[in-house]
Structures are given as C-alpha cells and as structure tokens.
C-alpha cells in the first residue's frame, strides 16, 4: 500500500562525486526509479541527523541520475561532501514549480553556484531549438565548473572572461543581445538587478529564489517571500509557489 504512495521518496545511490572547482562539488545520485525533473525544480536531501533537509536545484538528470552542484557552506553540505560512491542517500522530490519556458530569444544569467539550474534550463532550451545566450559570473577562474557550456564569462578578478561583476555588465548584455526573456539564478543582488532591468527594458524575467526551508512542500510556511498578486502584497512560499518567480512580482527587500 505505502509503496505506491511514496512517489516522491527515493533511496538514491551515489554514482559519482567529484570536486569541480576550488570550492564546489558535483554529486550524481541514481534514483531507484527514473524521475522527470523540470528546469528550476529542486530535490531535498536528508543530511545525516540534521533536522532540516537541504534543498538543491537540479543541475543534470539522465534517466533518473540526478546531478547537483554544491558548495560546502555548513553542516549539511559537509555531510554531502563526505559521501562516497555507492553510499545510499535519502532524497525527496522533485519539488517546486519550474522555469516557464517560452519560445523566445532568451538570455540566461547564472552567478556562482546559481549556474546549476540555469545550465539545466539551457539544455532544455537547446533541445527545443530556442535561441539563447548563457552569461555567467564567478569570483575567479577556479570557480568556473568545467561541465558547463557558457557563452560569456565574467570574473571579479578578470582571470578568465571579462573582468568585473556580472551585475555591472547586465545592462550592456541586454542592449547587445536584445532578449525577449531573461532567466536567472544567483545571489539576491543579481536577481534584483535582473528584475529591475527587466522592468526598465520591458522584458519578462524569471528568477529562481533561495531560502532556508523546513518542509520543502509548502506546509510549514517557513520559506515565504513577499510577492505582488493582483496589486496586493501576499506571501508566497519559495518551495511550492516558487522557486521560480517573475522578477516583477517579487517585492525585493
């Protein structure tokens, strides 16, 4: 009885784990049943005794082999980093909405580890023959993951690509590429800038947000942000209503 109900619980086996930049890692988890994941969706991993599962955007998905990128930031990611090939992981998901893919000339913005869901999105756009440009910003060359197909790179120290923060190049990028839609994931300030520019140039923006979560499924109301719906400011949960929001609907703090 219970097994047919457990459609979002997986005992996944670590198929690969490797360091991909000086501070980030790639882990591939083989789920017991192949599972379909849309770009922008996330999975939540139980991290060895910690109360809160840690949510991760899906970076790759090949027949139920879910790949994620992560940085070691605290106890949760420290646990995941310690896993070895063959270890069993308690994973639930996929959760959340997803990027609402439009057949329009697209600009993709990723910053830091935020490139993970954007790279997955690019895969889907390419598959559908949608014209896109993927621009990504990092601190330095050693922070650029190899497995990603990026068109334009920016680094704070100029060690690869153009020098400076991607934030300072966003407006120029928009003018150059003249996109009809922008998708973005990265630090709050990058997303806010993308949203502001979207409004200025009257371009639709979709941003993938991040927030500490407890339940991952919209129950606890712990991860809410303010959004504008029908002219009113209301709560939206990042885990269920998001993580992808229209940039012009988010009330930026």
């Amino acid at each position: 009885m219970s097994d047919t109900k457990n459609k979002k619980i997986y005992k996944a086996k670590v198929a690969a784990i490797e360091k991909v930049t000086q501070s980030s890692f790639y882990i591939e988890l083989k789920c017991e049943n192949p599972v379909e994941v849309k770009a922008g969706q996330f999975v939540s991993i139980y991290c060895g005794g910690l109360t809160l599962r840690r949510p991760f955007s899906v970076f790759t998905n090949n027949n139920g082999n879910i790949g994620i990128l992560f940085k070691e930031r605290g106890k949760g990611t420290e646990y995941i980093k310690s896993l070895k090939v063959g270890d069993i992981v308690d994973l639930i998901g996929p959760f959340g909405n997803s990027f609402d893919i439009k057949n329009k000339k697209s600009l993709l913005i990723g910053a830091g580890i935020g490139v993970a869901p954007i790279s997955y999105l690019k895969e889907k756009l390419d598959k559908n023959g949608i014209t896109n440009t993927f621009a990504a910003g990092f601190l330095t060359k050693n922070e650029v993951p190899q497995k990603i197909n990026i068109d334009k790179i920016y680094t704070d120290d100029g060690s690869i690509g153009e020098k400076g923060s991607i934030i300072d190049y966003l407006e120029k990028l928009i003018q150059e590429i003249d996109p009809e839609i922008i998708y973005a994931c990265g630090p709050h300030i990058v997303l806010k800038t993308v949203a502001d520019l979207g409004i200025k140039y009257n371009i639709e923006t979709q941003v993938a947000m991040e927030k500490v979560m407890a339940c991952s499924i919209g129950v606890c109301r712990g991860c809410v942000i303010d959004v504008i719906k029908d002219g009113k400011t209301v709560n939206a949960s990042v885990c269920k209503d998001g993580p992808v929001f229209k940039g012009n609907e988010v009330v930026w703090q």
Binding site: M1, S2, K5, N6, K7, K8, I9, Y46, L50, T51, L52, R53, I92, V212, M213, A214, C215, S216, I217, G218, V219, C220, R221, G222, C223, V224, I225, D226, V234, N235, K240, Q253
Partner: protein, 304 residues
C-alpha cells in the same frame, strides 16, 4: 475495533498517532508520501477568524537537535477552511482536529461556534503560540484567563475539546488542572519552547547576523515534553496527548510510559514526510509481536 484504537470521549480514533498543528497543513501536501487516512488524526494548522499573513521573514532556522520557527500563525482563516479544506478532509476520510487561535476570548468563542455549527468532532485550543503579539500565549500562561477562555468555549462547543499547553510556565500542572476544571476533555502538551538563534558571519569588517526568535521544537525538546506529560499525569484525570521531539517508536512508547494516551508528531514530519505513517505501522507490529491484547494493555504495562 482495531487493536490500536483510542477511545476518547465522543472522538474515537483508529490509532494514537496524530500530527501536530503547523506541521501538516490541511493534509494535501502529504499525499505524495503516505496515506494520510491511516493516521489516528491530523491536527490542522492553527486557524483564526480572519486570514493571517503571519510574521515577516527569516521565519525558521536550524538548531542543534531541532529548529526555531516564527511563522506567526499564517493561515487561510476559518471561512476558507470550511469551504475549501474541510470537504477534502471529509472526502478522503481523514480524521482531524481543528486547532483554533484567537486574539480575544470573543474570537475563540466565534470560532468554537462555527465549529459546532459545522459539526466538527474535535478542536484543539491554541493558547500557547509564542509567536504572536496578542492572545494565544497570554491565555495559556495565566490561570484565570485560561479558566475563563476554556469555560466559555466549553459552553459553545459540545465536541471533543483539547487544550494545548505551553511549557513556558513555572507549573504546567496548574494550567492542566485549570483546563480540566473548566471543562476540557483532554490536554495536549507541549507547544514549542521559547528560543532564539543568532547566526553570524564576519565579512568585510562587520558581522552579518540572522536572528530568529520563536518556538523551539524537534528532538531536543523531548525530555521537557516527557517531563510535562509525566507531571500532568500525576494531577489530572483527563487524557493527555503528548507532543515534543517524537521521531521513533521508542519515543512514542516513552510518552505512553510517562502517561500520554496519544501523541502528536511534529517537526519530524518536515525531516521525514512519511514518518507518521511509519509509526502507525511500527506500533501495530510492536503490539502484535509482543503479544499484547491491544494498545490499552501495552500502555498499562508501560506505566506499571
């Protein structure tokens, strides 16, 4: 009758595993993980007279052995609950308790009346939420206010009336007695403990801080909860529903041993969304495996 059933006054549930308010929504979200109708009952997220937006952001943080939340009773309000959520619970045959929260006695009375009109079988009075400015916890910490509130609600509501007690008092026994004397059919204990977490990192010459002040829950509070149930069981005669840090069958049995008649699983639902269903199965297996006649016999032996 199932071997695990619990016979509360006018509110019989098929097993003693319930889910705590605020951790199970109104059930829908858990369909992907378990058959919710297999649980004894779910307690709904706290419902107020009018919808509530809840507190501003940074509402949760992890602690050692648990978490702190400051949601602030965000909920859809009683009217929307009755029109949108109630029919779903009934259709799915899920037993439930409505957790009600108000800022004034009048609000609680109004809520109780609506529950009575809609033939709700059981309500849990939330007099112990630490995260809202008015009402709630004030009623739960003052003996006179609590007596007044419970007796007024009792007049309006004929179903099973549970009072959820706070641990943030000197003597939970006194408040439990007050609830009993005012006409409560049961108490549930405990709500969250008051907690604060300050997380910081040093960057560019200054500390960036994230402060979350609210209710502490999770496995760390279990000894406090067991103590509350244990002490309450010495002084009150009405049933006690134990809450606090339950994650395993051993935890459930420990609550029974301390004097609980049923339990509510809370924070663990976030960590393991299938946990409540798993505990139902494990409890039944435990009773059968050890040759107990039923749950009642198991409880009796645990308390000897």
């Amino acid at each position: 009758m199932a071997i695990t059933s619990v016979n509360f006054k006018g509110f019989n549930i098929k097993n003693p595993i319930m889910t705590a308010s605020g951790t199970y929504g109104y059930n829908d979200e858990y369909d992907d993980f378990i058959d919710v109708s297999s649980l004894g009952a779910i307690v709904t997220k706290a419902i107020s007279l009018k919808p509530r937006e809840g507190n501003k952001h940074n509402r949760i943080t992890e602690t050692k052995a648990g978490m702190i939340n400051s949601i602030g009773l965000e909920n859809v309000g009683i009217e929307k609950f009755l029109t949108d959520k109630l029919p779903v619970l009934k259709k799915k045959n899920i037993e439930f308790v409505i957790n009600i929260a108000g800022s004034t006695i009048e609000e609680y009375i109004e809520l109780a009346k609506k529950c009575e009109t809609n033939k709700i079988k059981a309500i849990e009075l939330n007099v112990s939420c630490p995260n809202v400015k008015a009402g709630c916890l004030e009623f739960g910490t003052d003996e006179n206010s609590l007596y007044e509130l419970v007796s007024q609600v009792r007049k309006e509501f004929t179903g099973f009336l549970i009072v959820k007690l706070t641990p943030n008092v000197t003597s939970i026994e006194k408040l439990g007695l007050v609830a009993q004397n005012a006409g409560a059919d049961a108490v549930s204990a405990i709500n969250t403990l008051k907690g604060v977490s300050i997380k910081f990192n040093y960057f560019n010459g200054r500390f960036n801080k994230t402060i979350v002040q609210g209710g502490y829950s999770g496995s760390g509070i279990k000894p406090v909860a067991i103590s509350a149930v244990y002490r309450l069981s010495k002084v009150i005669d009405i049933p006690i529903i134990g809450i606090g840090g339950i994650e395993t069958l051993e935890d459930v049995l420990e609550f029974f041993a301390a004097g609980a008649d049923a339990v509510q699983v809370g924070t663990a639902n976030f960590t393991h969304p299938e946990i409540a269903g798993k505990l139902v199965r494990e409890l039944e297996e435990y009773i059968i495996k050890n040759g107990f006649k039923d749950l009642e016999e198991l409880k009796k032996k645990l308390r000897k």
